[in-house]
Symmetry: C2
């Protein structure tokens, strides 16, 4: 159990109608003007936008609107928003949407207080020393961004899907109302399940030493995601299942399941970021393709932990059986497990390997994930 | 899954030698003088006191010493310390010790900024509106006080063991170095195990609705405590086991295992506080007596959850088997399960019931825990 320091300052407001409190939370911090970031116009049609604006107005908070953030959010939009935030002297960013909106909001928050190019933070040319406060209403449970320091954005020009991390990027307040997540499509529900499972297994399998207690929390999160996804596919209105799914998503990447681990890495994310950057694959769908392939390549390096996974999550005994059970479950609920499901062919592998190797360098994993290794893994996903 | 708001501001500095950083953490908050609270002189003999003082001095922090805090900490000592803190204009309280020292430190922190009697907070006559910042080095893993808002103190005159809770009482920084906990006696290790299990099961069994994901975290904590206690009884120097035990203790009562629960209560603590107040029984030892008795009385009210407990923690199927397995485990590791082990006799029950009923009123549980019910439970513990 290696040394760690942990402090997570984000306030979670969880439950029904909590979005109505957002203006009050922002006003508590004495903020008078926000940039209101969102994705599609759906929030205008379903009433959420009006609810949020009413809460802001009740609390005397002005807002500048920035809609149109897409999934796999892009740098050009972040640039546009940074300019807008600066021009209007926004004092905070309010994100209303899923992880893509929130990740963009975090990048905007850092960019708004920086004179240079916000991309500098992503490529390690500069370190985030301050950021505007970020508030959010999270409408898709997947990224865990609502309680962590991370943000991932794609530079469309260079085809780099890169991330930033800074304690300045913890949201101040995150609203998680499971009812707002009911409208998520079945497709995105199962992609999100894959995303949460990916966040769970990266540390679980790659750490060179891993406390049992943390492993048990991870298994609780994965089991919750599997069970509640099945419940929600049968009945999208099951509030408790929706709530437990959402909380598992938050817990999977808020740091608590990475405490005391030694030497872990995020290889599945590293490879998936390439699929999203080159083919605009939904992140979770890309992950459900990468994970079984990576696991089959990696299993012999940590067989005991795979046996444990097999036993605790699926009640099986053999390491390989657990991997196959996970892959079968992905197939059963309908998230892809093969590159061919994205119409990606063997002839695309060169470009994928090239881009993924760039990620490996950015992740500091190029020594292990050579081009030959990346190809070997990807071939298992064809 | 009921609505909740959660924010836990405590910074955890976990691991080897972390106590050496305490001065730096306090200095970061621009504090120049602390009241240094501790228990016995053991910390002077084993070098911890010197390490702490060196860290304070390096960071230009003065200190006023207050030793002699006992387990089941008493109000008279808190009074003495409040006067000392006021007289010396202490800007913070630094607790070096276990839960008793830290709980006292929290009471002192609230009392130091209050003109009235600090006991007012315990009996609901006044509400804590501010408190000095509290820092701690926790040398016994049990109470969870290092990451929560609670403190329990005994008024020796009135024989009331009562608690306070306030967001102002979250420690700023808690140092958890498992190596410092190696010197805990086997006796106190097993009492502590009972304490952590008690913190775990109160919400788990009493909540009228309980999310599965939270139940799974609770089971992870209990399983960790059971396994690591056995490891530590065989080898007190097992650092990883010591670390996992400590982290389970922190997680069991830092709020995370109580999120989304509806209508829970702390009846085992309510009854145990009487045993400590009247007979100065060690808190954990009292809890291992109360829990099996309470469970046998309560099991029919929530049989499904007891079946789950039996299955998940002990691999058994029947509700009652799980209770018996827990009681057997307490006996095996050597923490008491009968009042007679404290030389408490049937003739003492009147006084116990009377005092416990006072607690029930203070806990708001007097409607359920009538004197007849309390007697029924206690008779099962004779």
């Amino acid at each position: 159990m290696v040394n760690f320091t942990y402090q997570n300052p984000t306030k979670i407001a969880f439950g029904k109608e909590k979005e109505k409190e957002i203006g009050a939370y922002i006003a508590e911090d004495n903020i008078k003007k926000v940039l209101l970031a969102y994705g599609s116009d759906r929030i205008k049609r379903d009433g959420l936008f009006d609810t949020v604006v009413a809460s802001l107005e009740e609390n005397g908070i002005e807002y500048v609107e920035l809609g149109g953030i897409v999934s796999n959010p892009v740098l050009s939009k972040v640039y546009e928003a940074v300019d807008l935030a600066k021009a209007h002297h926004a004092e905070a960013i309010l994100s209303v949407g899923g992880g893509s909106v929130l990740d963009s909001a975090k990048a905007i928050a850092a960019g708004a207080l920086y004179d240079g190019d916000v991309w500098d933070f992503f490529i390690g040319k500069s370190v985030i020393e301050k950021a505007l406060p970020v508030y959010d209403i999270i409408t898709l449970a997947a990224s865990g961004s609502e309680m962590n320091t991370f943000a991932v954005v794609t530079n469309e020009e260079t085809k780099q899907k890169y991330s930033i991390a800074s304690p300045h990027l913890y949201p101040r307040v995150s609203v998680i109302n499971p009812e707002l997540q009911k409208s998520v499509s079945e497709e995105y529900l199962v992609y999100s399940a894959a995303d949460v499972i990916a966040h769970s297994i990266e540390g679980y399998f790659t750490a060179s030493s891993h406390p049992d207690i943390i492993a048990a929390y991870v298994e609780a999160n994965i089991t919750t995601v599997i069970n509640t996804t099945e419940t929600l596919l049968a009945d999208r209105d099951d509030y408790d299942a929706r709530g437990e799914f959402a909380w598992a998503a938050t817990q999977a990447l808020n740091g608590t399941t990475y405490l005391g681990l030694e030497g872990y890495s995020f290889p599945n994310h590293m490879i998936e970021h390439t699929l999203s950057a080159l083919f605009n694959v939904p992140h979770g769908a890309g992950l459900s393709v990468v994970m079984p392939a990576w696991m089959k390549w990696y299993v012999s390096q940590n067989e005991g932990q795979f046996q444990r996974f097999s036993q605790k999550v699926f009640g099986l005994s053999d390491a390989m059986e657990g991997i196959e059970a996970l892959e079968s479950w992905f197939n059963k609920v309908g998230t892809p497990t093969r590159l061919s499901q994205f119409s990606i062919k063997e002839s695309d592998l060169d470009a994928i390997v090239e881009n993924a190797y760039g990620n490996a360098e950015a992740f500091g994993l190029a020594e292990t994930y050579t081009k030959a290794v990346l190809r070997e893994i990807l071939e298992k996903a064809l």
